[in-house]
Amino acid sequence: MALSTRSNFEKPDDAFRVIVEAHRGLSDEASADLDAALVLILANHIGDLDVLREAIELAKRRMLEASQQQQQQ
C-alpha cells in the first residue's frame, strides 16, 4: 500500500479543526506531548511500515523546503 495523499475527509476543514481544538489552551510542552501520543496511535492504526516511512519522508521534505523558502525571504 502506498501513502494516500488524496483528500480523504469529506470535510477537510472539520478534520483540521478537530486537531486545532485538541491543542487549544495547551502549553507548547503539553502540545508536543499530545502530538507524540497522536503520532504513535495513528502510526499503529496504519500498521504499515512503508506507509509510515513515506509519510515521514513527505513531512521532512516539506519541512526542509519551507525552511529554505524562509531563508530566501
Partner: protein
C-alpha cells in the same frame, strides 16, 4: 570491592594450578603442532573445546589466569544455550543448579504495565531461561573438560605473539616457566571483549559507545519475590531511571540500576553508597553484597570474524549491551555454529570455505543482537528530549492499549537467529509452518518404543550430534545416505501420539527435515528422495 563466592554445595573447583607441558621442552625450530588451539577458558572457549573434543578433535585450551573469574557477570542462559549444553553433557547440571524462569514483568512507577511469557507452550525439554552465576557455568564446564581426554587445558598460558603462515599459525605463549611456542592449524580467539588476539591481527573493533552508567549489585537475602524478571521504568525507589531485579541461585538477587551519566564511578561503587540505594528499593537493610560492579557499555563488532587461520568468537568478536541476555548466549551460539564446521574442515570432508559460513551466519546474528540491544538501551536512556517525550507517550499509552504495551522496550530477550545462508536449500514446496531452512530446530515431546517420554532434542543427541534426518513415516522405507543420523517418527522407534511434533513441523506423512549438526534446519522435503537429500547435504557442508 565485595567478591562473589562459589558456594560449597557446588563441588566445583575454582582455582587451578599451572602445570608444565611437554610442548614447553621443545627448543628452537622444533615446535609442537596441534589441529586447534582455543584461547580463553570462559563459557565460549570451554564450550567450543568440549564440542570439538566430543567430535574427536584434540584441543589445546589456553587461559592467562589460573582461576575462574570473580562476580556473577552473565546470569541468564537461554533455552538455546541449554540445548547446546545438553549436547555437551552438561545441560542437566546447569538446570539443576539454576533458577528456571520464563515470565517477565514491566512496571512503570509502582504499577504493573504488562507481563510476558517467553515460553507459553508445553512440551519442551528446556525452559525459556535459567539464571545461573557465570562462575558456576564456568566451573561445571571445566569439570566436563577434565573428564575428556581430548582437551588439554593450560592455565597461566598467556598468548604474547601470533604469526600466520600459509598452513598454520605459530603462537608465542608466556608461562611462569618462561615463553614457548606452539603451532596450530586453526586458532579460535575466545579471549573476551579486550581480546589481545584481536589486537595482534590488527583488527578494528568499532561501534557505538553509550554514555549511560549502570550499577550492578548482587545481594544475598531471603526474599519472597517470584522467580520472574522484573523491570521498572521510573520506580518510586529510583526516580527517573530504570531498575531490574532477577533471582539467582543461593538466595542471591541481581539488581541493576541505571545511574546518571555524570555519576562518579569510583564514588558510586563504594558499598556504603550502594547500600542506601538498594535499601530504598527493597524497603529493608537485611542483605549482604556478593558483587558490585559499575559499567558503561558499547555495541560493536569486528568487520570479519575470520582473519586467516584465526577465528573470533564471543565477546572478542562482538559486544552488546546486557539488556536482552545476548552476550554470553550469542557467544555460545558462535561456539555451536563453529564446532562442527571446524571439525569437517579438519577432517577434510569439507573445504575451508565452509568456515566462511561461520562468519556470514554469526555476523548476521551479531548485527541482529546489536540492533535489538541498542534499541532497548535507547528506550531506557533516551538520547534527546523528543525521544524522552515519545517514550513517555508509549509508557502512558501502554496503560490501556495493547500496541503501547508491545512498544515498551525493557529488553528483548535472546532468541536464536534465523540465518540467510548459502548452506540452506530453499523450500520449493508449500509450508504453512515449521522452522524454515536457516532456523533452529523446535523441540517437542516424542515417545520412544522403549518407554519413557522424551524430547526431540534428546533423540537428536542420541542420533549422534551430526547431520540427521527427521522423517515422518508414510509406510515406505526412507532411502537416506548412510552416513547421517535418522529420527524416524511414526515408526517402531518413535511415536508422536499427541501430534505436537507434527504440528510444530507442519508435517504430513512422508515429510522430512534435514538437521545440521548444530540443530539448524538445512533443508526440508515433502517427498524426500535420496538424490535431493544428498544435494542438500553437499550444500550444507560447503561441497557444492
Amino acid at each position: 570491592m565485595a567478591q562473589a563466592k562459589l558456594q560449597t554445595d557446588s563441588h566445583a573447583k575454582t582455582r587451578f594450578g599451572y602445570r608444565r607441558h611437554a610442548d614447553q621442552d621443545l627448543v628452537a625450530t622444533n615446535v609442537a603442532g596441534h589441529p586447534v588451539v582455543v584461547v580463553g577458558a570462559g563459557p565460549v572457549g570451554l564450550s567450543l573445546a568440549i564440542d570439538l573434543a566430543q567430535r574427536g578433535q584434540p584441543v589445546v585450551l589456553l587461559d592467562d589466569a589460573d582461576r575462574i573469574g570473580d562476580g556473577s557477570r552473565a546470569i541468564c542462559f537461554s533455552k538455546r544455550s541449554l540445548e547446546f549444553w545438553d549436547r555437551l553433557g552438561i545441560g542437566q547440571r546447569m538446570v539443576d543448579k539454576g533458577v528456571v524462569w520464563q515470565v517477565g514483568k514491566i512496571f512503570h512507577g509502582d504499577s504493573l504495565l504488562y507481563q510476558f511469557d517467553l515460553l507459553p507452550e508445553q512440551g519442551h525439554k528446556r525452559p525459556a531461561f535459567i539464571n545461573l552465576q557465570q562462575f558456576y557455568a564456568e566451573a561445571y564446564l571445566v569439570d566436563r573438560v577434565e573428564e575428556l581426554p581430548g582437551v588439554c587445558l593450560r592455565w597461566r598460558n598467556r598468548v604474547i605473539g601470533l604469526e600466520q603462515r600459509n598452513d598454520r599459525v605459530i603462537l608465542s605463549i608466556d608461562t611462569p616457566d618462561g615463553p614457548y611456542r606452539i603451532a596450530a592449524n586453526y586458532v579460535v580467539a575466545c579471549d573476551g571483549a579486550r581480546s589481545s588476539l584481536r589486537q595482534m591481527v590488527g583488527a578494528e573493533f568499532a561501534g557505538q559507545v553509550f554514555e549511560d552508567q549502570f550499577l550492578i549489585a548482587d545481594v544475598k537475602m531471603t526474599a519472597a519475590f517470584p522467580t520472574e524478571r522484573w523491570f521498572w521504568f521510573d520506580p518510586p525507589f529510583h526516580q527517573g531511571r530504570s531498575a531490574l531485579l532477577h533471582k539467582q541461585p543461593d538466595d542471591v538477587w541481581r539488581i541493576d540500576l541505571q545511574l546518571d551519566r555524570s555519576a562518579d564511578p569510583a564514588v558510586e561503587k563504594q558499598p556504603e553508597n550502594v547500600r542506601p540505594r538498594i535499601a530504598r528499593m527493597l524497603g529493608h537493610d537485611q542483605f549482604d553484597f556478593e558483587w558490585i560492579s559499575l559499567y558503561k557499555f558499547q555495541c560493536r563488532r569486528m568487520a570479519r570474524f575470520l582473519h586467516g587461520r584465526v577465528i573470533f568468537a564471543g565477546d572478542a568478536a562482538h559486544q552488546v549491551s546486557p539488556f536482552g541476555a545476548r552476550g554470553a548466549n550469542s557467544g555460545l551460539e558462535d561456539a555451536e555454529n563453529l564446532g562442527w564446521k571446524l571439525d569437517c574442515v579438519l577432517r577434510k570432508t569439507s573445504p575451508e570455505v565452509l568456515l566462511e559460513s561461520y562468519h556470514v551466519e554469526r555476523s548476521q546474528a551479531a548485527d541482529e543482537n546489536i540492533r535489538e540491544s541498542t534499541r532497548s538501551t535507547d528506550f531506557m536512556a533516551p538520547n534527546s528530549s523528543y525521544e524522552a517525550r515519545l517514550r513517555k507517550a508509549v509508557l502512558s499509552l501502554a496503560k490501556e492499549t495493547e500496541f503501547g504495551k508491545r512498544m515498551v522496550n525493557g529488553g528483548r530477550l535472546s532468541v536464536p537467529s534465523v540465518y540467510e545462508t548459502s548452506l540452506s536449500t530453499s523450500d520449493d514446496e508449500v509450508w504453512r509452518g515449521g522452522p524454515r531452512p536457516g532456523a533452529s530446530m523446535v523441540d517437542a515431546p516424542i515417545v520412544p518404543s522403549d518407554g519413557d517420554a522424551e524430547y526431540l532434542t534428546d533423540a537428536f543427541l542420541k542420533a549422534g550430534r551430526r547431520f540427521t534426518l527427521l522423517a515422518f513415516a508414510n509406510g515406505a522405507a526412507i532411502d537416506q545416505p548412510s552416513d547421517i543420523g535418522v529420527i524416524h517418527i511414526g515408526s517402531q522407534v518413535f511415536s508422536d501420539p499427541a501430534g505436537l511434533l507434527a504440528a510444530r513441523y507442519d508435517a504430513r506423512p512422508g515429510t522430512a527435515y534435514l538437521l545440521r549438526p548444530d540443530g539448524y534446519v538445512a533443508a526440508r522435503f515433502r517427498k524426500p528422495t535420496r538424490g535431493a537429500i544428498e544435494a542438500a547435504l553437499r550444500r550444507a557442508t560447503g561441497n557444492s
